[in-house]
């Protein structure tokens, strides 16, 4: 018997994640970025406290454009992970679980982490 031909939408231009889905997948992406940043951060802290020379080397690094972009990316990852996590805790407590509220809180998470990122970008680059 021939299987029924079901519609398979793997056309990435036709698949659209809902806003709640964006917050969810970006929560994972930002979590992985923060995990990767942890050993680098610990390494940087140990160098910065190792002595005058190490401290100078690292603070010189922070003037580099690429390093500032990376710091900005981590700022976004932290802000998004924090706000999406708080939303998660809210949903765990059965607050705002209807679709309309869930969409609103998702949009709020994206807006808040975007706002924090823009604020930090302005401090870093202006």
């Amino acid at each position: 018997m021939k299987p029924i031909a079901r519609p398979v939408h793997l056309d990435l231009l036709r698949i659209h994640l809902p806003v709640t889905g964006w917050v969810s997948i970006l929560h994972r992406v930002s979590g992985v970025l923060l995990f990767l940043a942890l050993p680098i951060g610990v390494w940087a802290l140990s160098v910065s406290l190792s002595g005058e020379a190490g401290f100078r080397q690292l603070s010189d690094c922070t003037t580099l454009f690429a390093i500032r972009i990376a710091l900005l990316g981590l700022t976004w990852a932290f802000a998004h992970h924090l706000f999406a996590g708080l939303r998660h805790l809210m949903l765990d407590a059965h607050l705002g679980t209807n679709l309309c509220r869930a969409r609103q809180s998702s949009a709020a998470v994206l807006a808040a982490s975007g706002a924090v990122t823009i604020l930090v970008a302005w401090r870093l680059f202006a």
């Binding site: 992985v32 995990f35 610990v42 406290l49 765990d92």
Partner: protein, 119 residues
């Protein structure tokens, strides 16, 4: 057949994830404000920021909570996306080494007697 790790291990991970999340949501913004308001600093000022023992203990405990939180999160991601058991176990091992290594290195840095004997 029930899994060897027991029927309630998922609940424990879930609770650990939430408990550490609340801790981190309180501690990390506080620590960020402590350090960012002190900027810009020179080396002596930077060292002085880490001088209070309570701050160093708080920083280490927060990082330990972060490691537990990251462990549950990374394990969840690998359980969802990595099917081959051997590869998944290998990735778990990498995550554990990175997390335990980071916390141990931080402890060694923060409580290095050579650094704080002068301060």
């Amino acid at each position: 057949m029930k899994s060897a790790s027991g029927a309630h291990s998922g609940t424990g991970s879930w609770l650990l994830q939430r408990a550490t999340a609340v801790l981190l949501a309180l501690a990390l913004p506080g620590l960020a404000i402590y350090f960012l308001t002190a900027l810009p600093v020179d080396f002596a000022g930077w060292q002085a920021l880490f001088a209070p023992q309570g701050l160093r203990v708080l920083l280490l405990l927060t990082t330990a909570a972060l490691a537990l939180h990251a462990w549950v999160g990374m394990r969840d991601i690998f359980m969802d996306y990595v099917r081959p058991t051997g590869l998944r176990l290998g990735l778990y091992l990498v995550v554990i080494v990175v997390l335990v290594g980071s916390v141990a290195w931080l402890a060694a840095t923060l409580f290095n007697p050579a650094l704080w004997s002068a301060a």
